[in-house]
């Protein structure tokens, strides 16, 4: 039997100084190229789970294995995991193109290959010719697309999406969800989406799980 692409095993996380954990004994397996949506109400700990997987939080227990390698204690910049934050957080002092090229620069891509990859990503998210735009002039939908392109550009091993479409109006959310699904499938990237919107999850994901079901019953 082959091991899963991402294996989260009995993972716990507690905020320092707090007695109660945010989540406890959580386990999840994700197959290669699979898009999994985790559904749960606000405040249930979904975002904390993603932050723990990518290394922004240190787990208090448990392990995370990616492609057979234990990454539980690796630094975030060494994990090669991409993340789209709720609220996009595009770098305000950089243009759209520079935002997308940021991760490529960190991986020391040449100038030509950076430019080529930025154009490729902009086409993927339907924003061709936006490269020189100031990010403060983007609409909410455009900013979400750029954030997705920025996270996908350095070809991470896995992409984490933390309610990436929050704050957009209903119709735009549906349209963007379809485009996001298309972009993720075209990139053949393994992804975990957390959301509280069942429709959004249904459009984007291959498999939907409830956050509460991931936790070992006590």
């Amino acid at each position: 039997m082959t091991s899963p692409f991402l294996e989260i095993s009995q993972l716990s996380f507690r905020v320092p100084g707090n007695a109660l954990p945010i989540f406890d004994q959580l386990s999840l397996d994700v197959a290669e190229r699979e898009i999994v949506a985790i559904l749960g109400p606000s405040g249930s700990g979904k975002s904390s789970l993603l932050r723990t997987v990518c290394g922004l939080h240190s787990p208090s227990n448990g392990s995370i294995t990616l492609r057979g390698t234990d990454i539980t204690n690796s630094a975030p910049h060494q994990r090669n995991i991409g993340m789209v934050f709720q609220g996009t957080f595009l770098f305000p002092h950089l243009t759209v193109g520079e935002n997308i090229a940021y991760g490529l620069k960190m991986k020391q891509f040449s100038k030509e290959s950076r430019k080529q990859r930025v154009d490729e990503m902009l086409n993927l998210v339907h924003l061709a010719n936006f490269s020189n735009r100031d990010v403060s002039h983007l609409s909410g939908g455009e900013a979400a697309r750029v954030a997705i392109a920025r996270a996908l550009a350095p070809s991470p091993q896995i992409l984490l999406l933390d309610e990436p479409l929050t704050g957009l109006d209903e119709q735009l959310r549906v349209d963007l969800a379809k485009d996001l699904r298309e972009a993720l499938t075209a990139s053949h990237i393994t992804s975990i989406l957390v959301t509280h919107d069942r429709n959004e999850a249904a459009i984007i994901a291959d498999r939907i799980v409830r956050f509460a079901d991931l936790i070992l019953p006590t």
């Binding site: 905020v15 320092p16 922004l56 939080h57 910049h77 994990r79 957080f89 770098f91 305000p92």
Partner: protein
Amino acid sequence: MFVLWPTLVVLSKSIDRASLFHVLSNSQLRQMLWFTTWQAVLSTIGTLAIGLPAALVLSRYSFKLRQMIRALTFVPFVLPTIVVGIAFASLAPTHYKSGPLPLILAHIYLNIAVVVRIVGNRWEKLPTAFNESASLLGARPFTNFRTITFPLLRNSIIGASGIVFVFCFSTYGAARVLAGPRFPTIETEIYRYAFYIGNMSQASALVVWQLLVILLVLALTYRQKNIFLSQRTLTPLSCERRNKRLAYFVCSSLVALVTLLPIVILFFSSVHSTQGFTLSHWQAGELWTSFLTSLSIALVATLLALFFGCSSAFAIAYSTQVKYQRMMQSLTSLPIVISAVALGLGYLLAFRSSPMNWRGSFWLLPIAHSAVALPFVVRIITPAAQEIQPELRENALLLGANPWKVWTSIDLPCLLRPIAVAASFAFSISLGEFGASSLLTRNGHQTLAMRIGQLLSRPGELLQKQAIASSCLLAFSCIAIALTVEYAMPLIRHKGKL
């Protein structure tokens, strides 16, 4: 009239080209100008080297006693510069009692709070998600700082550097005590030419050179565009690792201890003589007379600074015309650009002939002090007044409140704290003001800061100890005022009246 007019008078006196160019042709004056500049540059670099890490830790991370440690780091800023000068002179080993090194260290000590406040305020609004995104995209910690944090803080760092340079270039009290006769600064030279030599035209020429350098630095460091981050202060991060939390606590406590150490040492020195413990230095009658004079002058100066400062701040905040706002901001910033000694010199020259012969008047000193405090009052109250959402006033108007009622029920409650902070600043500035007072004080109205200056200029251990006791009294008063505002203001609660 009490800021612009004296400035113009000083400028008009220096139109004498010979005096103006004498500064450059005279090798001693040229050397003095060069020393003032390089010590200010080194002081600014040193302040940034300590202030930036302190700003990071105190604005971004939550740990035990963070709020109190943060308040302590602001103490040096409210201390009179002459007190800091005396403290550093007492702390230094015998061979380093005066000269560039103690002066630069005193400047760093005085200005760390400027960097912590200006850069820290911006850092508090920088979402951590920017750094987290960069980290996930592969940026190592240093690259993350270089490519994300620094560009977003650059304008505030440059702005803070400009202000620190201006303060270091034009402090009088610390320079008078620490620079020593071998290393005069431009500010001590203005005073010497005006007061001891009586060469007003040469003193005015030095004021013009000082003004030119300050304006040049402010123009180079002024940044109009600041990338918008967020209006609200973000919650400080709690560190997940216990040892990291402990390290932040220890480091910032050290900074706080260093800020208090000079005052503690001054106090022990003031109650210690060759015979052992003594309170005699605190019992000199003139000490308490001067203190009462200082308090009464500071009270009048604070009221005046609040009246003019609030009027200017409201005029700037409520105006819709950008040109008018800029003009008012420039006018009220003049006392930062023109140093206190230069302002005192302006008063001497502007108010010496009838019908404005007010040189001996008691009230000229509080007016001069209020002019020195004015920019601080305006800079504290204006942003607070601008932050009040217009929708709040509109709602109150629609609910039947008249404009006066809107102001007293909406604006005033929001501004109470900034007004109290501004008042405490103005009071502390007046208490410790030394530059303008040196030129304007008349017999019978000697302030505590002036008394310190006089005691220091005379030899003898007893007089030196009395100067140290006076410095302690000034320092304790300023700290008490700052702490009262910091801790007493949150206790004032709005009483519900239906």
